[in-house]
Symmetry: D2
Subunit: 162 residues, 4 copies
């Protein structure tokens, strides 16, 4: 069962620039994580963009939707910044049908020792293999349906809207 993985950036892939002291994007750490997890899945991985999700535009979301619609796979995982993950999920739900799409990300950059990224990736890939068509957010070990999820800005955790 092939799974398509789209990378869009987010905290997940941020690195520390030791010359400027700023966080920035270099390359994705997805391959390192899959190797660490000893994943033996049939994955097709593409980087669509490398942006902070607060800077993600409607055009960016249209591009992601286009890629989801036109890729061969029925099951898709998208790594995404957490700040607007719920918005992108809602957008994809409106614009893509008939596929299982799971968005995930990280609260702490992968390159930090204590990141949640590896855990989230493991759960997102599992949800992508087992959930029926639809758009979902996989965070905090749980899955949420697009349209009924938001990030709680105070706790940092995802929760149902109602």
């Amino acid at each position: 069962m092939g799974i398509r993985v789209f990378i869009t950036g987010g905290t997940f892939d941020k690195e520390y620039n030791e010359l400027t002291g700023q966080l920035f994007f270099k390359d994705t750490h997805l391959h390192d994580l899959l190797e660490m997890g000893r994943a033996r899945l049939d994955l097709e991985i593409r980087t669509l963009m490398m942006v902070d999700s607060l800077e993600m535009t409607d055009e960016d979301r249209a591009l992601i939707a286009h890629q989801c619609k036109h890729c061969e796979e029925e099951r898709i995982v998208i790594t995404h910044g957490t700040d607007t993950m719920a918005e992108t999920a809602a957008y994809l739900q409106t614009n893509v049908t008939g596929k299982t799409i799971v968005l995930t990300g990280a609260m702490i950059p992968i390159k930090f020792g204590s990141s949640d990224g590896l855990f989230n990736l493991g759960s997102a890939l599992a949800f992508a293999q087992t959930l029926e068509p639809g758009v979902y957010v996989a965070m905090n070990g749980r899955y949420f349906r697009a349209g009924n999820v938001r990030k709680n800005r105070e706790s940092g955790a995802f929760e149902e809207k109602v």
Copy 2:
């Protein structure tokens, strides 16, 4: 949706004894992993034993089956050594029905920087929430049905028997 987690030991929870240079069991690292993964799940965690899975006896397996049958939850994750994980899964399939049971573990101890444990735990908890009743092994980002899985001793990866 409550999930019961049973801890039985395995590489997952091995630590390095710096006085003897041997690997040994102290406490489980499960709580640390759940905190790192920022898990917000309704979990009930119990340590049943702390053994190397090569030393797991029929009596141990009977105890695990008993606990699976009599716990309140319909969904169960079991951390287990990889060497006899397939055997315990087959045993549970014969002895417990009507529940979703997912066994997982690690090839590398959690306390090592590069462990697959966090990835496996994320996927096991996701599979436990989504798979229909039955017994499964969750390793390498995949799930396998009990009875049709074995650990490849040469590659260290899990695979279907046929």
Copy 3:
């Protein structure tokens, strides 16, 4: 041989705020590092400030010099941001005499898996035990005399001025 350790902040002690995505100071990680290094030294540790070294003022430097002069110990290690470490070293050389003072820091926060902080701390404590009175910068495994050291902004490494 007692060593006084003064903490002033710098990259060394920066943490990632997962709610804002910013780096910030919480507590010092010095005690964790000393425990990891299994240090068995007679250390007296004090936090003087927690600042980015680019924001360190003359008043801050006067405070550090005052503390160096008036503490009981003859040997002192100071953790400091790398950007103005050379400036503070020069200031201390002018204002404190008769003590062995070693400044050190990190290019990458301790909380990142790949920090140089533990290495630098090990070398700074060793230099503090063995160098004659004077002010030094300990970075890159080397020691430099105050007044003859600068941070190369392009490579991030410390080097002699001449």
Copy 4:
């Protein structure tokens, strides 16, 4: 100031074999540590052997002494298992003169997240640059003179004999 580094094995360089669950020697991690520490030292690194120090023979020690005597550098760091580090130090003191030789190692393998190896290496390289000719053990942030040091088997720490 050139420093010669001799690698002899020990806990420092042990890895976890995920197929057998045993600790073993593969390659040295010294280069990774030097890179992490951003070391900018003039080092000449040689692996002399890769053994558990409990299995180190008189012949092995004679080889190490021979290499110390005949290498060009006046300053030498030796990575060594902790169990017989004091014995090798005493042997070298009897057999090599006129050079500064510092033995160091680790209580926890480098590949474990919480190893003391990076700290010890930083201090050993610093002591090698600053101590007068003689043979020393650098552990726990301190240095000990050969002949007056032993490993306390209960605490795991190094201490003076008297």
